[in-house]
């Protein structure tokens, strides 16, 4: 048996995993990164639009700071997020982006002087300060009060990923690709690494570590139409779930993006609307202002996606062989802007749909319909990134439920989260490695490897023909699209859970035609699909139990946000490996500790909230304290600290300097 020892094991080489690895390696810890694919091909590369950080360099960002970013994030989450984590995040984000600039991310910069932009379909000229010339620029994104989304044209994720990956290569991080984690090695309530399959040779190996971090990205591929890459199958999260000790948080919180292109589901970035593009219906009418007079096309994603589906249901969709869709019109931005700032969008539209979006009028309109995009839920962690139940197991990035996003994530907050949480969790994980040994016996390691070895043997011994794994997978995806989508209701969800459970049972009878332990694509499907089904069941079952609507989770039979009963985080544990259902519990969010107690988001449906009496009480407390401290002449940092204290490692809590205002 091959055993590989290291201090820090990082599973996943996207932005989050690589940034963690840089952090642990910097502390002198031996660090190994494992990835299904060469790390620069991770799905982080696909992020187009940008990264939120409250630099406030652009005139459209003046007045922005941590407080404004915090409020946007909490409202966006529909009060489902962990507010302490949100504070940690907004305080570190400006540092993360400045670090990345030094690592070579060529952020788009400000030119001092007049600049033409499109706001509310009108061409307008804004005047950038000469003093801001050469600082990092930002664009508008949904659900934000200020222009805060920093970008490199429309290839932000690509340049960020290359910046961080190149840094990891510089630091000689041991990166191994075409390696798949099958299960986690654990004893008592401590994690010691992972059982890994080499995807070229098929060989099983044990990676034993003091601490293990899962940064395996989203699980969008449990859905049929998704913007996610084909490798986003949630197998890392499933490995955590299958320990029976680590838990998932809020799996039902699934984001649907308003503008994937039809039919391929490839994303057209929110930057399209951020830069001034608009949605139109079958009559060419711009309909979003009818529903959302204030934020219009740039309300938060959950709201825009629902409004679009509502409009399609009202008969205003454009019929097509692939179902009804709406139009995204960016032609109004002009060819020059598109060819400079939205080039990938233009390329995608041209290649996959034969449309040039810079062509004026209906000819350039792009067919779009909401589709699965982001998993707010994931491996539940504490603010340090560590699992509250399985020590030595960390998680960050989209794979985790650190709980920055609650029930809806803001565009641009995700790539920001990957690097910010990478910095923070990487630091806490290093500390853990320095204080703990990998005190595990070989018999236990062998047991975990043997388990996977035998499982694969059992799969290879199955007769062929009884069940087809591709058919089971397809059915799962259809169920998720049709029954666990944007509009949900109890009865349909119940049906979804029942059918998914049946699929899970059937999947254990799927055989493979090629009886080889080596590179064998069908074998991969056969051991992956049951793990995906466990995630799918967790999503559907949690959605069924949550009888309210919050953020992206919308129940037609329970349309109000119910703070009285549901200001809670869903916690999933799969204790019995033989069972087809996990155990689901809930943990309450403490209103009396919130810096910003629940209220109205400022967009979406008004008056649809069952209020919690403590919300008002806490709001009064907050207002009184703030008024008193302001009178005493305290600054915003002192007031914030009094309202809700939070910790950060390293020097990440230092104040951020801003153009024109210094450290105010």
């Amino acid at each position: 048996m091959k055993i590989q020892y290291c201090d820090a094991l990082v599973v996943g080489g996207g932005l989050a995993g690589l940034r963690v690895a840089v952090a642990t390696k910097e502390k002198g810890l031996s660090t190994i990164v494992l990835s299904l694919v060469p790390v620069k091909r991770s799905h982080s590369a696909a992020a187009q639009g940008g990264m939120q950080a409250s630099l406030a360099n652009s005139v459209m960002g003046y007045g922005d700071n941590e407080d404004v970013h915090f409020a946007d994030t909490v409202k966006g989450s529909d009060w489902g997020c962990d507010q302490e984590v949100a504070r940690m995040f907004v305080t570190t984000a400006p540092k993360a982006i400045r670090e990345l600039a030094q690592w070579g991310v060529p952020w788009t910069r400000i030119s001092g002087g007049p600049r033409e932009v499109v706001i509310n379909t009108e061409r307008t000229t804004i005047e950038e300060a000469d003093g801001a010339h050469g600082l990092i620029n930002a664009r508008d994104f949904g659900g934000t009060k200020k222009w805060r989304t920093c970008y490199t044209s429309d290839a932000t994720g690509h340049t960020m990923l290359y910046g961080v990956a190149n840094r990891a290569i510089r630091d000689d991080v041991d990166i191994r690709d075409r390696k798949e984690v099958l299960s986690l090695i654990h004893k008592g309530s401590r994690c010691y690494g992972a059982v890994v399959r080499d995807l070229v040779s098929g060989e099983l190996e044990a990676y034993v570590a003091k601490a293990t971090c899962i940064a395996t990205g989203g699980w969008g591929r449990i859905y049929r139409t998704t913007t996610n890459a084909v490798i986003c199958e949630g197998t890392g999260q499933a490995a955590a779930l299958e320990t029976g000790i680590a838990t998932l948080g809020n799996p039902e919180a699934v984001q649907f993006h308003p503008t994937p292109i039809v039919p391929s589901g490839i994303l057209l970035t929110e930057g399209c609307r951020g830069d001034g593009g608009v949605l139109r219906d079958v009559d060419g009418h711009r309909f979003m202002p009818d529903y959302e007079p204030e934020k219009k096309d740039l309300a938060s994603r959950d709201v825009v996606s629902r409004r679009m589906m509502q409009h399609i249901r009202a008969g205003k969709g454009v019929p097509s062989p692939f179902g009804d869709h709406l139009w995204l019109d960016i032609s109004i931005l002009g060819r020059e802007h598109i060819e400079k700032h939205l080039r990938d969008v233009q390329e995608i539209a041209r290649i996959f749909n034969g449309i040039d979006p810079a062509d004026e009028g209906p000819k350039g309109w792009l067919p779009v319909r909401p589709a699965q995009h982001y998993s707010m839920g994931g491996i539940r962690t504490k603010a340090t990134g560590e699992s509250p139940t399985l020590s030595g197991l960390f998680s960050c990035g989209e794979a985790a439920c650190w709980d920055l996003h609650g029930f809806n994530r803001l565009g641009g907050n995700s790539v920001a989260e990957t690097v910010v949480s990478g910095m923070i969790v990487g630091s806490y994980m290093s500390e853990y490695c320095m204080n703990n040994e990998a005190d595990i016996d070989t018999a236990t390691i062998e047991k975990f490897v043997a388990e996977q070895y035998d499982y694969i043997g059992e799969i290879l011994s199955r007769p062929v023909g009884e069940e087809n794994i591709f058919a089971i997978k397809q059915r799962m995806k259809d169920i998720m699209d049709e029954k666990v989508g944007i509009f949900r209701d109890g009865e349909t969800l119940y049906g979804a859970v029942e059918e998914l459970r049946e699929l899970l049972q059937r999947s254990s009878k799927a055989g493979v035609r090629l009886k080889s332990r080596g590179a064998n694509p069908e074998l991969c499907e056969v051991y992956r699909v049951p793990r995906m089904l466990k995630i799918a069941i967790s999503v559907a079952y949690a959605a069924m139990l949550r009888t309210e609507s919050r953020g992206a989770h919308f129940r037609e039979d329970h349309p109000e946000r119910d703070d009285l009963h549901w200001l809670k985080r869903t916690i999933v544990k799969w204790t019995d490996p033989q069972s087809t259902l996990p155990h689901i519990g809930f943990e309450s969010l403490d209103i009396m500790k919130m810096e910003m107690p629940p209220g109205f988001r400022g967009y979406g449906r008004k008056g649809m909230t069952v209020e919690h009496p403590l919300s008002r009480k806490r709001q009064e407390e907050v207002d009184t304290l703030r008024a008193r401290m302001e009178l005493e002449g305290r600054d915003r940092f002192e007031i914030q600290d009094a309202l809700m204290h939070f910790e950060l490692p390293e020097n990440y809590k230092e104040k951020n300097e801003r153009f024109g205002v210094g450290y105010e």
Binding site: P38, P106, I110, P263, F352, P521
Partner: protein, 246 residues
């Protein structure tokens, strides 16, 4: 639309090279598959259909399926292309022959080890910012001329797909040649004001026949680069710079 007319119900013939080098019993051979074309069909869609319905053992690599990640380079009727953004309708004869890209280690069938090659290239050209000291991340970022940031970005768009390498005569002959991708990377750091390396430092890295002087200026790289990087111009520029050092 013509797309629909040609794209409807045609039967496509795929001839795909199958070979598992690690298996002593495996011999390279072409397997033939027939498939009904659907509107807007890409090689990503077609290959997955073949795997699901006809040959569960067929190996190939896709990640983003949107031309962004650089995973899916392969030889399509003799030309290196990103398979995910190659449409079957562009092959009027309906016969598509797929082979793995040369110059890279073959893993299985259409799957090649571009990852290892690119990693080696990254180390070889020291594909990272070189700076003597790091700046405090709480203070205002260093200013960069917008033009320069944009020029850096233009060259940073390379997705390490390896297509320039697979189409390069030098790379096929010389295994240690850094390829257009490596030379472009150098050009990228050359313009980046954050990088403090001098001409001499760059010369150390690429001033030989496996570097800038190995290029025979045939420029198949630029013709095939899916990101349309200005490889010809950048290689010529770097060559002038490097030649002036000698």
């Amino acid at each position: 639309m013509s797309e629909k007319e040609i794209g409807k119900g045609r039967t496509l013939t795929f001839e795909i090279l199958k070979y598992t080098p690690s298996d002593p019993e495996s011999k390279p051979h072409f397997a033939t598959y027939r498939l009904e074309e659907t509107p807007g069909m890409t090689l990503f869609i077609a290959l997955n259909m073949i795997r699901e319905e006809q040959d569960p053992d067929l190996s190939f690599d896709f990640v983003c399926r949107a031309g962004i990640c650089g995973s899916c380079g392969m030889m399509v009727n003799g030309k290196p292309l990103l398979a995910c953004r190659t449409l079957t309708k562009d092959y009027p004869k309906g016969v598509i022959r797929l082979m793995p890209m040369p110059a890279f280690e073959l893993l299985k069938d259409l799957s090649v080890n571009t990852g290892r090659w690119m990693n080696g290239m990254s180390k070889r050209v020291e594909s990272w910012i070189h700076r003597s000291k790091e700046r405090d991340i709480s203070v205002l970022e260093e200013r960069v001329e917008p033009e320069i940031a944009e020029r850096t970005f233009e060259l940073d768009r390379c997705i390490e797909c390896g297509i320039c390498v697979a189409s390069c005569a030098t790379a096929l002959m010389r295994h240690d040649f850094v390829g257009a991708v490596g030379l472009n990377r150098i050009a990228r750091f050359y313009v980046d004001p954050h990088d403090e390396r001098s001409d001499e430092d760059f010369y150390e890295l690429i001033g030989d026949d496996n570097g800038i002087f190995g290029c025979m200026a045939l420029m198949a790289c630029e013709d095939h680069c899916p990101k349309k990087l200005p490889l010809q111009e950048k290689i010529a520029f770097m060559r002038r710079k490097m030649a002036s050092i000698k």
